[in-house]
Symmetry: C2
Subunit: 331 residues, 2 copies
Amino acid sequence: MAAKEFRLASRPSGWPTEETFDFAEVTLPSPEAGQVLVRNAFMSVDPYMRGRMNDVKSYVPPYEVGKALDGGAVGEVVESAVDGVVPGDLVLHGLGWRSHALVSQFNKLDPIDGVSPSHFLGALGMPALTAYVGLLDVAEFSPGETVFVSGAAGAVGSLVGQIAKLKGAKRVIGSAGSADKVAHLTRKLGFDAAFNYRDGDVTKQLAEAAPDGVDVYFDNVGGDHLEAALWSMNRNGRVAICGSISSYNEESLPPGPRNLHQILVNRLTVRGFIVLDHNDRFPAMIAEVGPWLAGGKLVAEETVVDGLENAPSAFLGMLRGENTGKMVVRL
Amino acid sequence: MAAKEFRLASRPSGWPTEETFDFAEVTLPSPEAGQVLVRNAFMSVDPYMRGRMNDVKSYVPPYEVGKALDGGAVGEVVESAVDGVVPGDLVLHGLGWRSHALVSQFNKLDPIDGVSPSHFLGALGMPALTAYVGLLDVAEFSPGETVFVSGAAGAVGSLVGQIAKLKGAKRVIGSAGSADKVAHLTRKLGFDAAFNYRDGDVTKQLAEAAPDGVDVYFDNVGGDHLEAALWSMNRNGRVAICGSISSYNEESLPPGPRNLHQILVNRLTVRGFIVLDHNDRFPAMIAEVGPWLAGGKLVAEETVVDGLENAPSAFLGMLRGENTGKMVVRL
């Protein structure tokens, strides 16, 4: 089977470019026992992939130069050497960035009426599990609390805010990087307040948006957003550290927030988490979020880019914040 | 009753000096109903008092210029208007920095054979409760874990390390600011390793002292110590933020650690706490630490300065790190 894939051409220093990627053609054999051959229908581009381009030990191994990239993908089984899986079945797996893949680790998916399979990469996939676990388990959100989420127009952030509202938040505040995104958060996604972090001091904008303080901060950004949140946190508040997109393309580590003493003064809990540790919560997430999505109570936004050949530019656009909601590539 | 007291002469900018303090004589009336008149025997000088000299809202109100300072003290009742309390009783209360005090909030103490009453300001007092709650409740220490404590020769730090060892720590590491203190930690207090943070890069020294990483970091210092600890923390490690003495005399807020992404990568929990919230654990602490102290299993160090008139220099010396263990003033 002739297949196409993207490889890491070289490790970027600072912002990646089109030259970071190599396009290659390969031939895939038939699946061995335990494998299925999948034709990918959708693949995901995610912020964490930028970290994997560095040669740094982290929670997932770095990409290797000259080897195919990988990431979340949904596809249709073409040929199967696994009992109970037949051609035509829909599966979620980890070998994106290619037209076809031989996979041995995958989840068979039950299609949901009226819901595009691409949502298993977003509102019913890893971003949803990240939002669900981070808000409910890591930050221990309770109904009646005020939630602030940064990167609120992104795949994870937009779900954090909506899940918080659906679970009874008193007030949900989001930050994003353009006036359009800010308008979208309050008009379409039900956020109570939102601001454009490019409009001025984040600390001041957050304090105005959260006159009664913040109980839960879901941090996708780090840096000035974390510092701002620490100033606004109420006593016994919780911060879930999910990402720090503000620093991913910095060549040296920027200094941290100046106000960590707020953790002491306000008895805060700051906790980092990795969604991979929480796969046991996948069924609970699907059971709760699935009906919200199917019933139209939850807006699942996607920015869909067509064509595998456009995956690098989709990835770069996502890093620059050009997407609203989950960025996916349709193959 | 003629009494003497120290007042805040003016708010210091940067390091306080002898001029920060005013010595005054006052006359105290007889106690009203609900009060006892106490002759103070010992008073405490603590790092948190420096913060109270600033006009900043915090977890305890700031000292007022021209008014008497306060803080932990142990004394003997001279005159009582409280049922069940008689002259000669020993009490722990919050009106130190003076020879005598009229107090309505106090704890009556049961003297322990062979244990100086001054220890109710240290190894059986607020520092002990701070160490006990921070290690066991906030950082959720488990037997078999490796513990790092900064400011390890101080009142709280020296108890954190010893309690960790007595509770089954695999390895206890301390940092301090002189070779004498470092020797004391390993030779007298049972620490497995210790280093002088003035000897060089804290991150490197800690990495050498903790080849298998750190599970619990008890932070009294902040700044470079917190950054170093974050590099050494093992997965699922916990950081209890108890103080940040490194920044108390800075006139502007220094930048925070550059490596907060370690919180995410290693799934860390960083939690601030204030001992005042945990008074309910006082009986449990006394029940566990009291027998260790009386039985000689726990070394309770004190630096005792004689004379109320020397309280300011004792306080300044404590800020400069001249004490080993709890610094108290004997009146």
